[in-house]
Amino acid sequence: MKYIWLIPLLPGLGAAINGLLGIRYFSRKASGAIACTMMLAALGLSLVAFWQMLGLPADARGVDVVVAQWIPSIPLATSNGQVGMFGVPWGYRLDPLSGMMILVVTGIGTLIHVYSTAYMADEPRGGVARFFCYLNLFCFFMLNLVLGDNFLVMFVGWEGVGLCSYLLIGYWYEKKSASDAGKKAFITNRIGDWGFVLGVFLIYSTFGTLDFRAVQNAAATMPVEAMHFGVLSFICLFLFVGATGKSAQIPLFVWLPDAMEGPTPVSALIHAATMVTAGVYMLGRNAVLFSHAPYVMTIVAIVGVLTALMAATIGLVQYDIKRVLAYSTVSQLGYMFTAMGVGAFSAGAFHLMTHAFFKALLFLGSGSVIHAMGGEQDMRKMGGLKKYLPVTFATMMVGTLAISGIIPLSGFFSKDEILFQAFVHNKVVWVVAVITAAMTAFYMWRLMSMTFFGGYNGPAWETSSHAAVATAAAHHVPHPADPHAHGQAHKDDHEVSHGPADTHGHDDHGGGHGHGPWHGPHESPTPMTFPLMALAVGAIVAGLVGVPIAMGGSNAIEKFLEPSFTASESAVAGEGAAKGAEASAEAASAEHEAEPHVSVNVERGLMLFSLFVAICGIAVAHKFYVKNPEISDGLAEQWAGAHKVLSNKYYVDEAYDATVISGTFAAGKGLWTVDRNVVDGVVNGSGWITIISAWFSGLTDRTVVDGLVNLVGRICEEGSFWFRKIQTGLVQNYALLMLFGVFAFVSIYLFMR
């Protein structure tokens, strides 16, 4: 347990090895093997550490390990007058929350590494090494993020994962859309990071330290800002801005769907399981702060639920399989934020974990499907794949049911917990959440049915070598069923890819034979199916740790995660302030106080209701897309406007283009004009002044100084003109002068004697 600093270090080591040596020297298998080994070791270490932590008493489950003194103590003033020493240790903190997180990161990370070894098998050698280098690097930063015991270490991880996501989204950098998506993600994250950094500054200037524990203890003693919008609220608001950036909430969610340009394992690991949940983790980490800022809590809840609803509605009409999953991710994150917003931190974290499992499972499954379809991502080109890839079908079915909230799969418990808490706190939020849940079930089932059920209506395949051309031709044949959807198909295609024929070139999903002719849908190799099954098991059982009391279970995860969300009692006792103690108690167990108000029956009823809603969604989707698909097309024509709006994602991108980006350009132009007119004007003016003054000083130089110099020279010249008459150049005249000297001396002698 003293060696938890090894957990982040190992992936970093792998990244270093792969990056410095691998890109040049290693083979595909070697680099993959190194990366997987490192992750496996990290996983083992984190399991050991977690086990040791479980052995500790519940209130002592917080272990700080300081690796080194990062920033030595610098005197730095804080807001309340006195000067705090700004010293930051490079410290790691293992407590229930971070323990869960490292388990999630290392576990899922390991599986996805294994998956990637097969998925990326057809990349160029250096590319594979680069990919695994980035992936390991991401794990390194992510583990730093979740293990860091102060805001600065966390911020390092925060930025690092942003960087890695940028690198991995732009992995196929020859592809303009990929590099653009990478840039979009990066810039959008910067906006969020700006908020996060402001929050960190404000925290230091308020508390004089950056250590989580210290900040929490200090904040626990402060009054709850229920009436006014105080400094804690501002801190939380800034932090929440950062969270929206990283976790793709309104208004910064636009980068996540485009991030699907990256390889599917990347989407699974970064953009579904781990990185995007960093925001949620951060909120949970600062639960005490947030619980002291009710307004911000409300804002968080509203933003979260709205995000969930909007993303779900968009997800209803998408045809790209990965985009559907992306929007579902956004909406699930919205769920988590809702949970945080309503104070159910443990529920949010719980959902985070379960979601990590089944969403990673779904992404990997979709990756398997795309792999099977030879790069095809348009669901209308699929269908009836059940008989081709049974394992993928089974596992993805598990995932779908889990995310839809079907008992007893994991999603049910976590989502139901969130809904219950929402119901307790805010009925409106609850209603919206429920609708969202129904939509979730609907579009997930729609995905499943369009992909696996029905008849195969993808491109024809042959064993001939020129099949690729044929498939390309077949791809562009209008679909007889819905000419209207075809246009959108084209639109979607424009956003992502143009089907197998030319996806072969850049987005190499061709599986084991990406460069040869495509031989039709087929099951993926074992390294890809094994993670699927493992994750499926996880998706099934992960919920059991959070079986609510209402169902006779003991909500273990809550009790387990409790200490992370409350200030340490020791600090509070040391504080000794009754008000602080009371506040911390209230903050610590908001839902516990709320619980007595609703009876267990109500809770059970809510469970049944949500279950019913989910099943309704599934049924409707089944009716629409499996029984008689024309209904969906009819609906699409009927609600053409809404459909168009939805499939264009509420024109958010366009709106941003119109407002933010063009505004930025305009501002830049204005600043440029100011620069050219004012700044350059000042510079040129000073230049002119210099020139004029130089002219004057030159005038004085010429007249006065040179005048003196010339005067001296003239005097010498005139004097020499007369004196040189002596210099006749005749030796005898000089001798004559000598004789004159003799004469002079002798006469002096004569007259002196």
């Binding site: 005749l730 005898q732 005249n733 004559l736 004789l739 002698y749 004569l750």
Partner: protein, 170 residues
């Protein structure tokens, strides 16, 4: 008496030949007059009880230096008379006047000194050797050894310099 006659004769010859040396047009003639002048100066030395200096005068001056002059005069076979060109800036008359003035001054000094009592004849310094040559040699190699060495070095340098100057290509 005979001493006076000898002195005046020698003085007359010395000055006469000196004037001839200065005034003669032909260079070779003036060289010859110079030799004669030196010979008479040597005779004067003999009269002054300095036979060694007399012989050295003849040997070095007449036998060495003037022969050198004669060489140069012969080597320099001039196409045109040596004093054809005369610079307008030369102040010959001033030179004459100044020389005369200096002569008068010196004469005044000497004569005034002559008016005074004649210089006392101090007893001869006691050198361990007798005879003019031995005494000169003694002084040269004892008291004046370092000046003697310096003079020899000067002669060496002069020899090298003369060779460097006169040799056409080194």
């Amino acid at each position: 008496m005979a001493h006076a006659i000898a002195f005046y004769t020698l003085a007359a010859f010395i000055l006469g030949f000196a004037i001839l040396v200065v005034t003669t047009k032909d260079t070779v003639h003036s060289v010859l007059f110079l030799v004669l002048d030196f010979l008479f100066v040597a005779a004067l030395y003999v009269m002054l009880n300095a036979p060694f200096l007399a012989v050295i005068q003849v040997l070095v001056y007449a036998g060495g230096i003037v022969v050198l002059y004669l060489f140069v005069v012969m080597l320099v076979n001039l196409k045109r008379p040596p004093e054809a060109h005369s610079d307008p800036h030369r102040m010959t008359k001033f030179g004459f006047g100044l020389a005369g003035a200096v002569l008068i001054e010196l004469g005044a000094i000497v004569v005034s000194g002559y008016m005074k009592a004649p210089a006392v004849t101090s007893p001869a310094q006691n050198l361990p050797v007798s005879g003019n040559t031995e005494q000169v040699g003694w002084l040269l190699y004892t008291n004046y050894l370092i000046p003697f060495e310096i003079a020899s070095m000067l002669l060496l340098v002069a020899m090298i310099g003369a060779i460097v100057l006169a040799k056409r290509e080194l």
